[in-house]
Structures are given as C-alpha cells and as structure tokens.
C-alpha cells in the first residue's frame, strides 16, 4: 500500500481512512491476511502505537478481525463491507452537496447538472 | 566490571606499547651484535657505524620511557575527556572502577618497560662479559649480592618507593587532567595544574623530610648507621607520598563525578 499522510489530521485517522478505502474497493480482498503491526508500521513509517490504534478502530467497525494466533484478517462479511462502502459513499455525497451549496446551487439545479453530465458521458461512449 | 575495563584498557594500549617494546628489544639485540662485531673489526668506519647502532639503543631507551608516558597520558585524556568520553562514562561502571582500570594498566606498562630496560642492560652486560673474557656480569652480580646483604629491608623500602613513586606520578598526571578539563582551555589548564601539583608535591616533600632530619627521634644520634637513617627517610617519604596519592585520587574522583565537562 502507498502511504501518504496529510499534516492536519491525526495520523491514525488517516490510516483508518486508507484501510477503509482499500477494503470497500476490494483492493484488500475479504479474508485477506494483514501483515503484523510492526511490518505495517514500518511500511507506513509510523509509530506502532498509532498503527495499532487504527487497526483497533477498524476492528470496532467490523471491517477487520483478529484471530488469536493467526493474525489479523479483512472481514469476510459482505454485508459489513457493503455497509462501510455505503457509509463512505454517503460521506462523499455530503461533501459534494456541501461544496455545491457553497457555490450557490439549489437541489434541483444540482440534479439537472447531474443528468447533463450523464448525457455527455453516454454521448462520449457511443 | 573492573576486569572488563582492564581487558579493554590493555587492548587499547597494547597496540602502541607492544610494538614499541619489540622495537626496543630489537635495537638492543642489534646493539649487542654490533658490540660483538666491533671487537673483531679493524676498520674505523665500520667501528664508527657499529658504535652508532649502540648509541641508537641508548636513544631508544629514552624514547621508550618518554613514549610510555605519552601513550598513557594521551590514552587517559582521549578516553575520558575526548569524544570517546561519551561512550566511556555511559558504561555501567563506577568512577572508581574507571580510574583504577587506567591506573593499574598504566602501572603494568610502566613496570614492563622498566623491566625490559633492565633486561636489555643485563643483556648488554652479558655481551660485554662475552667480549675478551671481561667478566662484567660477574662483577655486577657480586656487587649486587653484597649490596642486598648490606641494605636488607632498605631494598624492600626502595622497591616500595618505586611503586608508590610511579603511582603518585600517574595520579598527579590524572588529577592534573581531571582538574584541567573543567575549564574551556582544557589542555592548557591541565598543564598548569600539573606544574601546580608538582609544586605542592615538592613543598610537601621538603616540609616532611627537612623537619624529619632534625626531629629528635630522627637525629643522627638515634640512628647508629646510615642505612637505618635512610630506611627511615624512605619510609616517611613513602608515607607522605601515599597520603598525597590518596588526596590526588579523590581529587580526580570528585572532578569526574561532579564536574565532567564533555561538550
């Protein structure tokens, strides 16, 4: 995984975000085994406590689980992953809507712009 | 811990000392060979060259003594007060252990050098006695035996005096450096303190020895023979040296414990 951190957010939060992204997009497949905390933190160049905290957060969300001696694995529960994906999507949508609102667009205008964009895409395809 | 410190102390100093001792011994062998050769040669120039080689050995003796002093002093200074000090003083050893490791190793090297020099002269004497049947060693040996019989415990006291003398000289060097490093001009102040301590040593020396000569207990009347007088003088000098040495030791310990100035 490529690790790039921003300076304004706690690093553990950014790690959680990146893992979430990889899991819901399928980059990390369900049931895939994760490397050890030590290896992961070395790869990412971060403090092992930080990595541990991020992984614990992911466990809390159900995206990752620990099997005592075997290690940490990506969840195989499709429903949980789907829920996570949806939650991230909703977040993105909220961001989008808030950005559009600050530009001064109303709901209807946003919807018509969206269908315009869809039409252009269809024309480009055909 | 002291054992380990000693081991590494010897390792660090042996790289300089052993080659030096080897060279000195080599020079001696060359000188002895030259002397034997010179006996059989008529040629002036060759004889001159051979005499030069013998002279080289004597120069070598002086160099050896000076070099021993220099090597040991530099070792102390660099290992304690140079950058190496950061490693030395973070080792899990007490200041006492550190000092004793330096002292003992230095003593050993000093005596090794002195012993080798004595051995070399002995070899020379042997060589001389081989030449023209000149029983040099025999003469020396007889005199030595006579002297030993005459002077008895004086010999022991003298030996002890040598030991204490070397120890105090080392302690003086160490204390001077330990005091000097407290200041920003470390080397300069070390030299200053060395001479200051020398002064103290001589004042102490005469302050004890001179009254000792006139003290009723010591007056020539109570000492029927010169030997017992000398014995007493040497012993009282040993005692003052010992006390001075102890003071120097604790002076160094204090400087190293409380006022280490590494940066």
């Amino acid at each position: 995984m490529e690790w790039k951190f921003r300076s304004d957010l706690p690093i553990y939060a950014q790690i959680v975000e990146q893992f979430r992204q990889s899991i819901v997009s399928g980059k990390l497949s369900p049931g895939q085994r994760l490397e050890s905390v030590r290896d992961l933190s070395m790869e990412a160049g971060v403090n092992p406590n930080t990595m541990q905290r991020a992984l614990q957060e992911l466990e809390r969300e159900g995206l990752v689980y620990t099997q005592r001696t075997a290690g940490r694995f990506v969840s195989e529960d499709a429903a949980v992953i789907e829920r996570g994906k949806r939650a991230m999507a909703m977040e993105k949508i909220r961001e989008f809507l808030s950005a559009m609102n600050s530009l001064g667009y109303s709901r209807e205008e946003i919807l018509s712009l969206l269908s315009e964009e869809k039409e252009e895409e269809n024309n480009a395809d055909s | 811990m002291l054992g380990k410190l000693l081991k590494h102390e010897f390792r660090a100093t042996a790289r300089m000392m052993l080659p030096m001792l080897a060279v000195l011994f080599g020079l001696n062998l060359l000188a002895d060979a030259s002397m034997l050769l010179a006996e059989h040669t008529r040629e002036g120039f060759l004889a001159f060259l051979l005499a030069l080689i013998v002279g080289l050995f004597f120069v070598g003796v002086i160099v050896a003594v000076v070099m021993t002093l220099v090597v040991l002093t530099l070792r102390f200074y660099r290992n304690f007060f140079g950058d190496e000090g950061y490693v030395t003083f973070t080792l899990p050893a007490t200041v006492h252990e550190q000092l004793w490791a330096k002292l003992l190793a230095a003593l050993v090297w000093f005596f090794a050098t002195m012993l080798e020099i004595a051995l070399c002269f002995g070899l020379m004497g042997l060589t001389l006695s081989l030449m023209q049947g000149f029983d040099f060693s025999g003469i020396v040996w007889d005199n030595l035996r006579e002297a030993l019989r005459q002077f008895g415990t004086l010999g022991l006291d003298s030996l002890f005096a040598m030991l204490i003398g070397t120890l105090v000289m080392l302690l003086q060097l160490y204390a001077a450096m330990s005091l000097g490093q407290m200041f920003s001009k470390k080397v300069l102040m070390s030299v200053v303190f060395f001479f200051a301590l020398n002064l103290v040593a001589s004042i102490l020396g005469s302050a004890v020895t001179v009254p000792a000569l006139f003290h009723p207990v010591v007056s020539p009347q109570s000492y029927p023979d010169a030997v017992r007088l000398f014995s007493h003088l040497i012993r009282s000098n040993n005692f003052t040296q010992l006390v001075f040495g102890v003071a120097l030791y604790f002076c160094s310990v204090l400087c190293l414990k409380k006022r280490l100035n590494l940066a």
Binding site: S7, L9, G45, N49 | F89, T90
Partner: protein, 235 residues
C-alpha cells in the same frame, strides 16, 4: 513507574539556567519527541539522564533510580556526534559492547551491518561520516535497553540514511522500552512519535500526544511548533 522522570530538574551554569524546573514523565512503550531550537536545553536534559552531568537542583530518575551504573545498564545513548574510538573496527566494537552490556544483541548488530554492506573489518578512521553514524546507530539500537536517548539522530544525514534510521527505530519498537528523540527537525520525525514535548530556554512549554495536537489544532506538530516558537521569539 515512568521509565524516565524529571522532577523540578534544574541545571545552572552561573547565572544561566540551561534547564529550569523541568517536570517530565516518559512511560514505557512511548516514543517521545524532545522538540526545541538549538540551545533550548534538550542536550542538557539528555546528559543529565545519562549521568554525564549533575543537576543543580531537582532530580532525574531512570526506572525510579538516580543516574549511576545501575541506570546506565538500562539506557542506550546515541550522542549527537561520533564518539567511537577511531582505531577500532565494527567487529571489535561489537565485541566491546557485548562485553559491557548484557542486553546487547551481537547477532542483530552483525545483521544490520551486513544489510548496510558495511565491512566489519574496516576501522572507524577509514569510514566516511555517514558510515560512522550508521555504525553508531546500529550499536545503540542493537541493545534491548529500557530507555533509548537519541540526540539529533537525523541531523545532517542524507534522506536515505534518515529513512533507514526512522525505520530502524520503528522496527526496534519494544512496548517495555521508551524512546526519547531530541531534534529540531520535527516534520521528519513526527510520524513516529507518540508524544511531543516542546522545550525552550530550559523550560517545558508543552507536553501532549501527537494525535491530540493534530486533532485540536488541525495542523501538524511541525506547524504548531513553528507557531509556538514564533510567539516566543516575538515576546
């Protein structure tokens, strides 16, 4: 018990206070950044913890004890300059450290040396500055100490070496040990820190977890540091 604790630690040189009433506690398993400009007292604090200096007042405790041979057994110190005897080679250095420190892992040191392709028979005096620094780091990090004191470990090294150093610190992480990194190059070191301690003019200005700092201010520790110290300069 904190691995490193300072209680009203003060060190004066005549009128000047290099450290002034410093209170600090570092727990096991933490990587703490001692962050401050040059002359702020970082090196003085580290030397006091090492027993290389004596406090004027207050105390510094390592594992609850005052500095001495017992605590030196527990502390692994990386000075800000090269202090290795120049006549020794890496093999001899490993032997030296193995002898004096029970917790020294000679195998690990050998591994790191060969990994960095450093010739074990090369004498220190023949090494380049970068190689010397690496060797010193390897020796320090090959100990299983309880407290690592690293004084400016990444100052003046090339970026590849810097990355290697930071990686080694992470790889070496031990939940029972504490690492204190003193530096003024905060941005590079920030990702591996748990806590940041800002120090200036011998006083601790701030002590917080890095996560908290970022969450509260929305800035990196480096940026917060610049702000805090800009104020100090102007005040």
């Amino acid at each position: 018990m904190p691995i490193l604790e300072c209680r009203m630690l003060t060190k004066r040189y005549g009128e000047l206070a290099a450290l002034d009433g410093v209170n600090l506690a570092v727990e096991a398993g933490h990587v703490v950044g001692l962050l401050g400009p040059n002359g702020s007292g970082k090196t003085t604090l580290i030397k006091l913890a090492n027993g290389l200096l004596s406090p004027t007042s207050g105390e510094v405790l390592i594992g609850g004890k005052l500095p001495g041979p017992e605590t030196k057994r527990l502390v692994s110190y990386l000075p800000d300059r090269c202090c290795l005897p120049d006549w020794m080679n890496s093999e001899q250095l490993i032997d030296f450290y193995s002898d004096f420190y029970e917790d020294f892992d000679a195998a690990r040191a050998g591994e790191m040396l060969s990994h960095l392709k450093i010739d074990a028979k090369m004498r220190v005096r023949a090494m380049s500055k970068g190689t010397r620094e690496k060797v010193q780091l390897i020796l320090v990090m090959s100990r299983r100490a309880k407290l690592y004191l690293l004084d400016e470990p990444i100052g003046g090294v090339d970026p590849a070496t810097r990355d290697y150093i930071l990686e080694t610190i992470i790889r070496n992480y031990d939940p029972e040990a504490a690492v204190v990194i003193s530096t003024h190059l905060i941005a590079d070191v920030e990702p591996i820190l748990d806590e940041a301690v800002f120090i200036n003019n011998g006083r601790v200005v701030l002590q917080k977890s890095v996560d908290e700092l970022r969450a509260e201010s929305g800035k990196s520790v480096d940026e917060t540091f610049r702000e805090v110290f800009r104020c100090w300069e102007n005040s």
